[in-house]
Structures are given as C-alpha cells and as structure tokens.
C-alpha cells in the first residue's frame, strides 16, 4: 500500500503534550516537514524557549540547545557565529521574545544576525497559566488583566514584527497564522523561505505565527481559530512585512 501521510523524519516518535487545539503541535509538524524537505536535519540546530514549547527537544530529532527566558536570540547569535555553515533557528513565544527578550531580539535583527526566528504569538503566557503577554490585545481578559486589557492600566500591546521590519539588518519578516489549512500552508512556505533567506546569507529572518491557545483563551478550538481571523488579525495583520531578497511581495 502506498503511504500518503507519515510523521516527518525530523520529529521523534514522541506524542506531543500540548493541549487540544494548540497551535504548537501544528507548527512543530510543519517545521519538521520543512526540515525534511530542505534536507536540513543534519545541519540544523534549534533553540527552544522557556514556555509551553520548552520540551521541543523531546519532539524534534535534531540538535537543540535550550535558552533561558528571552535569551534565545543572544544564544543563537553565539551559536551561528561559531558555525556559520549551519542553520540555526529559535522558537519563541510572545512573552519570551516581545517582553523579556526584546533587547536581545531587536539587536540581533539590527546586527543582521543570520539566523531564523519562529515567533509564536498567542497573546498570553501559556505555560504559567494565561497571564497577560506583551501581545495581549486591548480588551482581552487574562489572569493578570482582569476585565480585559486597558491601555491606561496595562499599556498597549507591542507589534514586535513591525518594529523588527524597521531594523536595517533584518532580511525577511512575515506574519502568518495556523488557524486554517490555507494559513497553515502559507506558514509552511514562510518558514521554508526564512530558512532559504538564512542559507543564502541575507541576514535576520523571522516568521511570526498567530497561534490559537483555546485553554487560556477559554474558547473551544473552532472559536479560537475564528477569533484569530476576526479579532487578532485586526491588531496583527497577516502578510510579508519585509523582504529584501527581491522576491515579489507575497510569494504565495
């Protein structure tokens, strides 16, 4: 019988621990597919974050080195500079990259560090139980923004990818989502593109992925996917924010 669907070679045979409807599982799978398709398993090194995806090294069958909260961009800088012929990517959540790790991320982009960041934006601190994140949108309720995020009390959310697109050293920045089959395919293409940008040595590449967190959003999976389309993308519009490679604006 012809096999039409199987686990990517670069994922271990370990079941994910993620909650039902969580975007991490989908994202892990498509990163695994891209690594396989681009034949990178033997030359890629991943930097998992602190947060829900901290155990990524149990799932990816590639070399991985754990970073402390927010420091992945600095660690990746040292890692990639020490072995420029390898492919290095960080996998970070919104609290990790847009709060505690903002400085490391912006400066890595400004220096044009030649690695890739997968930035998973679900608008909450997931692993610690759903606290307000730097990307929690106005009006969104979390355990530390009761009654919804208010600008006077909690400040405005940060559009980190837009900020990074301004940095002179960034080469490719795109925002996608994993809330529908079409968006998942676009995300996969964006990740492949980001790795290609790195392989070609253009500089810093980042794919921000809007990702559902039904558990902490207190929604069911379908509601969460719909909420991304109807609410989250208004604050974090999808699309290519920067591309210096000369490819047309939206390659897919």
């Amino acid at each position: 019988m012809r096999r039409v669907f199987s686990r990517p070679k670069s994922l271990k045979k370990t079941p994910f621990h993620y909650c039902p409807g969580c975007g991490h599982s989908i994202l892990h799978r498509i990163i695994g597919e891209v690594i396989d398709e681009m034949n990178l398993q033997e030359k890629i090194i991943g930097i998992p974050p602190a947060g829900c995806a901290v155990l990524a090294y149990f799932y990816f069958d590639i070399d991985m080195g754990e970073a402390s909260h927010g420091r992945a961009a600095a660690l990746a800088t040292g890692m990639k500079r020490a072995q420029p012929d390898k492919v290095v990517f960080t996998y970070q959540g919104d609290g990790d990259i847009a709060a505690i790790g903002t400085a490391e991320t912006i400066h890595a982009a400004a220096r044009g560090e030649n690695f890739t960041t997968i930035f998973v934006n679900n608008g909450v601190y997931g692993m610690t139980g759903g606290q307000m994140a730097p990307t929690t949108i106005l009006g969104q309720s979390t355990t530390t923004s009761p009654g919804g995020r208010k600008e006077r009390r909690d400040g405005f959310p940060i559009n980190l990818s837009e900020m990074l697109a301004v940095a002179k050293g960034s080469a490719y920045i795109e925002r996608t989502a994993v809330n529908s089959p079409a968006n998942i395919l676009k995300t996969k293409k964006a990740i492949a593109k980001a790795f290609r940008v790195q392989l070609e040595g253009h500089g810093f590449s980042l794919v921000e992925v809007l990702s559902p967190c039904p558990t902490n959003w207190k929604m069911d999976t379908l509601e969460a996917c719909k909420w991304i389309d109807e609410v989250m993308t208004l604050h974090f519009p999808l699309g290519v924010l920067k591309d210096i490679t000369g490819a047309k604006k939206d390659g897919h």
Binding site: Q41, K43, I45, D63, G65, G78, R81
Partner: protein
Amino acid sequence: MRGNHVVAEAAVRAGCRFYFGYPITPQNEVPEYMSERLSKVEGGVFIQAESEVASIHMVIGASMAGGRVMTSSSGPGISLKQEGISFLSALELPAVIVNMSRGGPGLGNIAPSQSDYFQATRGGGHGDYRNIVLAPNSCQELANLTYEAFNLADKYRTPVIILGDGMLGQMMEPVELPPEVQIKKLPHKDWTLTGAKGRPSRFIRSLILDPFEEEEHNWKLMRKYERIIKDETRWETSFMDDAKLVVVAFGIAARIAKGAIKRMREEGQKVGLIRPISLWPFPQKAIKELTKKVKHFFVFEMNMGQMLEDVKLALEGNGEVHFYGRPGGIILTPLEISRVISSYYYQKRLG
C-alpha cells in the same frame, strides 16, 4: 604589558576564538584588545553585545557549538551575567568569565576592590552550584591562570571565573606569554551541538521537571565539584618556616601583604603568608594544616571581610583570627598594612 591586555592575549593563545562583551571600566581594554586581535585570527568572533545579559548568553551559544569562549566585565556587569553563569553550570558548559572588580555595591566606583568574593565563590546566581574561581596577583599570573582556565573549563565542563580587580587590570608588568595552542589539537568534545550529522541528535537543557532527576543532576554536579576540590585546589605560602603569625590574603591584597611582610621580617617579626590562588575550591586543608605550628591568623582583604568566613570555616576554631580590610576601592600601601599587622603581632606578645 597591561593586565587587561594580558588576559586577552593569553585567552587567544589558549585557543579562545569567541569573545562577547560590553564596556565597563576598569576592564575596557579586554574588549578593545579582543576586537582587534580576533579580527586577525581565523574563525575569530568578537561581538560588542547590547548588554551583559546578552553577552553571557552569546557565550552559552558559542560554548554549545564547542568553541573556547570568554567574556569579561566588572562588578555591576558580572551581576547581570549571573543568570547565564547559573545556566552555564546547569548545562555543564565550559566558559571563562573575567571580573576586574571595582568598588561596590551598586555602581560604586572604578577603583580596585575585592568585594565580589562572595558573589564569585558562592555561585552568584540561583541554584546549587559552584564556579572554579582563580585569583591572580600579578600580570604573569593573569597570563598563566587565564591560559589554565580554558583547560579547566573544558576538563570539567564548568565556568571558570578569573577574579581580578581594577588594579590588576590596569597595571603594567613584563610578562612571558604562554605558547599558542593549536585548536585542532585540543581534546575532542563529544557533546557539542553541531548538527546531527552521522550521529543521533543531541540536546542540551537545564529544565529537569522530575525532582528525582533534578536531584540526580545536582548530585552529578556535586561529584564533579568534589573532584575539583580534590585536584584543583591551589595556594602559595611564603615566609612560613618560623612564622608565629600567618597573613591570609588573595589577589592584589596578597601582593601588598607580601611587601608588608618583607618589611616586618627586616625588623625581626616572624610573619608568614598563605595566598589562596583558587578561591573556590578554597585551600581549607592547607590552612588547617598550618594550625599545627601557628595559632594566630591575620586576614587582610580589600573588602569588609568576605574570605574571612572561609578562613574561619577552614580553621574550625583552631587558632585566633584577626581581620583588617579597607572596602570601597581603597588601595593600601605595604607600610600601612605592616603597621596594622605589627601592632597586632606585639599585642599578642608574639615578639
């Protein structure tokens, strides 16, 4: 050669190809020298990071990749690096961290001080761990110990701290530099993250959620620390033969004390010196051993009394301990310290 330049040159000769730092006085000559030197070495990488926090995590990245890597700073900057130093210990990664310490706490000043002894020897960051801490007292020893630090870091897969001070970093002395190592001849590391080519994939992590596994990891580190205590404790004694009073001092303070002791010896006072070179592991046994002959110990530090605690622990009540220190970045002269020791010497009717 200036102390800060000596550290940098000795590091490159030891095979250090990766340096990540951030400016802070009185160690700026280290990054300045490294930026120039590493640009001329094959595979050399220098980055002036956006912060001390970023620089220590760049160190982690390059260390995971298998490189010999160093960062340097002073007091306030070393505080910021503590997060990364705790991680280096947990992840069992080699790295060399230089602290040309200055007066503290807070911003303090830029004058030489030994007030970071506790921070260096007690781990400094969160969690149950130790760092190897080496305290040179001359430019020559800066060269030798920096060179040696890279070997120790690799051998034990642990961070090594060079605890100097502003005076050591700034002073100039003739130095015989160690020979340049050939990177390819360094021992192979079988744990690095270089892409899973022709071998199973690896991961390096410090998150161990199962308390029993974390306990075992802690015991593993403990066993390593016990090996280090056994094999890597370093100290130096001088004028000990007929000594009735022993001065205990480290780093630049020991250099000053030695001058003082020479002066006192000329006046017939029987004073000796023990200088811990490794502050962790601390030469506990060597100090305890001295109590067979000597009962009076005089601890001199450029702080309010930090190593003093280790001396007391080492003596376990055997012997009388007196302390004299000047914190805040004050540099004593041998004359001043000789007067203080001398008055104690006569007060105790030792001569």
